[in-house]
């Protein structure tokens, strides 16, 4: 089966009838059920729902971290379900930028090295990695902090490094999982504005998982999920 499927909807990332079931028999748990979701270029979608509603599972499927039990996920018309593990890894490196709840920086790499590592995974030339890393960290106000280890950075700085890392390979999809959960309001606002700007420049589609209305307010569309199902009235 070809991984490339023409997508006339123009969606950059799309879930089509996705269901994710964990376990089997009596231990079977349906985390996400029959979800359809498309996000276009330049669009930031906020995925909102209570704990255990399936937000992270849906984000994991859209980010090629999990394969759906049934249904399909497309990233730029590539059917993620037909890719093998190596191809999914390459897809994540080149086409998906992640921002995690707690930044997920590697504690023994400096801010610059944390960002640059992703460029290596994506196969970018060393010169481009260095240039773009400096450029991104400068744009995000971290030019003076490039040689600092994560432990020497504030929570907001760490999350900005994480955003720089997500944008380094210029991916068409940006996925953020509760990116402001560990930040105060002011720093949270700063981070969500950076994420929104990265999407609204029209180069990529964005999905941010959150339960914070202030974050959702920056989104172009808010999608509610409850018990693994998207709320059609959302």
């Amino acid at each position: 089966m070809s991984a490339h499927v023409p997508d006339e909807s123009g969606a950059v990332v799309r879930a089509q009838g996705c269901t994710k079931i964990y376990g089997d028999g009596h231990a079977e748990v349906t985390a996400v059920s029959e979800v359809d979701l498309s996000i276009g270029r330049g669009e930031l979608v906020a995925l909102v729902g209570p704990s255990g509603s399936g937000k992270s599972t849906l984000l994991s499927m859209l980010g090629a971290l999990l394969t759906p039990t049934t249904g399909r996920v497309f990233v730029e018309a590539v059917d993620v379900g037909v890719l093998n593990e190596r191809e999914r890894t390459a897809l994540r490196a080149r086409r998906i930028g992640f921002v995690f709840q707690a930044s997920g920086l590697v504690p023994f790499l400096t801010a610059q090295e944390n960002v640059a590592a992703v460029g290596s995974f994506a196969g970018m030339p060393r010169g481009d990695i260095d240039r773009r890393t400096r450029q991104l960290l400068g744009q995000l106000g971290l030019a003076e902090r490039t040689d600092h280890l994560p432990e020497a950075l504030s929570g907001g700085e760490r999350q900005r490094v994480s955003i720089a890392r997500a944008l380094l390979a210029d991916p068409p999809v940006l996925l953020a999982d509760e990116p402001t959960a560990h930040l105060d309001h002011e720093r949270g606002e700063q981070v969500i504005r950076l994420l929104a700007d990265a999407v609204h420049d029209g180069t990529r589609a964005g999905l941010v998982v959150t339960h914070d209305p202030a974050v959702a307010a920056h989104a172009d569309r808010v999608v509610h999920i409850t018990d693994g199902r998207l709320d059609p009235t959302g």
């Binding site: 190596r86 920086l105 023994f108 590592a117 995974f121």
Partner: protein, 397 residues
């Protein structure tokens, strides 16, 4: 990608120095222990077998009744000449050993006197000073260089076996027999010493201990040994003109290749087997320790590693990063362990044989590397199979 993995591994070592050094220190101690045990085993074996290893021979012919024991074996001295005609034999000579004493001034040292045919395969090859005595030279000897530590020098006159003065004209190296230094003399002098110790046996000038053979180029020593045994199956003293060796009528020989003759020296195979087990256990301990260190590291780093996988790091990058650390720790452990063992070898008493030869260090280094990689295999496997979706369930910080 490999370069990225190496850089990640080295960065982790550089930035977690306390952990790296404590791990390295543990492995240095274990490496030193392993190398010391191996060095002891090697020195013990070498100091038992030097007398045969120093010869340019690959087959040894014993009297069958001696059961491959050099000290018990008695063969007719002309046997060497007789064997020279056999197919596959390039040259042959005789050698005889006898434990006795050497006196320098008031100091007595236990030694093994070795009577040998000069310019035959029975001659020691590693002369480090002076020269070797030749057949027929009166009262001349070459001594193992270890006797220099007892004050022996070239030109010194010493007393062998209580009453025979000889002049030391040369030193040979690595010729010990059963941990005792050797003194190499012409066959006539060896026979004299033996006769004085066993007067009832009489003076048998035509007697030697064993015959040593250098095989012809391309000949298989084991096959040559079999040929010699077959040819000499029922040797009669008359066949080798032994007018004054009455007790050798009808004797048979045991001819064996050199490795088997070395193993037959008392204690050698038992020592080797015992130390092999101990050294193997020490190497296994290194593997277990490395395995535990890296299993703990991977458990602790699981969220970080999952994050890197989620960000698109192929498993081989993370495996390379871990392997880089394994190899780096192994290198530090090997260099540090070797350095400590070398110092130890210099300070231990002379009675404790400990030798750190480059070949031995290389063997132990390879064994420790294999054990380290094997020990880390479980951790490497966990990294290679890490599910990137873990990143959504665990907090990396």
């Amino acid at each position: 990608m490999i370069r990225t993995g190496v850089e990640l591994g080295l960065a982790e070592l550089r930035r977690t120095l306390r952990r790296a050094w404590s791990s390295a220190a543990t492995l240095v101690v274990l490496s030193m222990l392993t190398l010391t045990l191996a060095g002891l085993a090697d020195a013990l074996e070498r100091d038992s077998t030097g007398v045969l290893r120093s010869l340019d021979a690959d087959v040894v012919v014993f009297n069958e009744e001696a059961r491959l024991q050099l000290l018990r074996s008695r063969v007719p001295a002309p046997l060497g000449v007789s064997l020279g005609w056999l197919e596959g034999v390039a040259r042959a000579g005789t050698i005889g050993l006898f434990p006795t004493s050497l006196a320098t001034g008031s100091e007595q040292t236990r030694i093994t006197i070795v009577g040998y045919n000069a310019r035959t395969p029975a001659e020691p090859t590693n002369v480090v000073a002076g020269r070797l005595p030749v057949d027929g030279e009166p009262r001349i000897a070459a001594a193992d260089v270890r006797l220099r530590s007892r004050g022996l020098e070239l030109g010194d006159t010493v007393v062998l076996a209580g009453d025979r003065e000889v002049e030391i004209v040369g030193f040979v190296e690595d010729t010990l027999f059963l941990q005792q230094p050797t003194v190499w003399v012409p066959p006539h002098l060896w026979a004299e010493v033996r006769a004085s110790a066993f007067p009832e046996a009489g003076f048998a000038e035509m007697l030697a201990g064993a015959t040593v053979v250098r095989t012809a180029v391309g000949a298989d020593p084991a096959e040559v040994a079999a040929t010699i045994e077959a040819e000499l199956a029922d040797l009669d003293a008359d066949d080798v003109a032994l007018d004054d060796v009455d007790d050798l009528d009808g004797f048979a020989v045991d001819a064996v290749a050199m490795p088997r003759a070395l193993d037959a020296i008392p204690g050698v195979d038992v020592q080797r087997n015992t130390f092999t087990v101990i050294v193997a256990l020490a190497v296994a301990v290194v593997g277990v320790v490395v395995g535990l260190l890296f299993t703990l590291l991977v458990s602790e780093r699981r969220p970080v590693l999952a994050t890197l996988r989620a960000l698109g790091a192929p498993p081989k990058v993370l495996v390379t990063a871990l392997l880089t650390q394994v190899v780096a720790l192994w290198a530090v452990a090997t260099v540090g362990g070797t350095a400590v063992t070398l110092v130890l070898a210099e300070v231990v008493p002379e009675a404790m044989p400990l030798a750190v030869r480059p070949g031995l260090v290389a063997w132990i280094a390879v064994a420790l590397l294999a054990a380290s990689v094997a020990g880390a295999a479980f951790a490497l496997r966990r990294v290679a199979r890490l599910d990137p979706a873990v990143v959504m369930q665990e907090d990396p910080e």
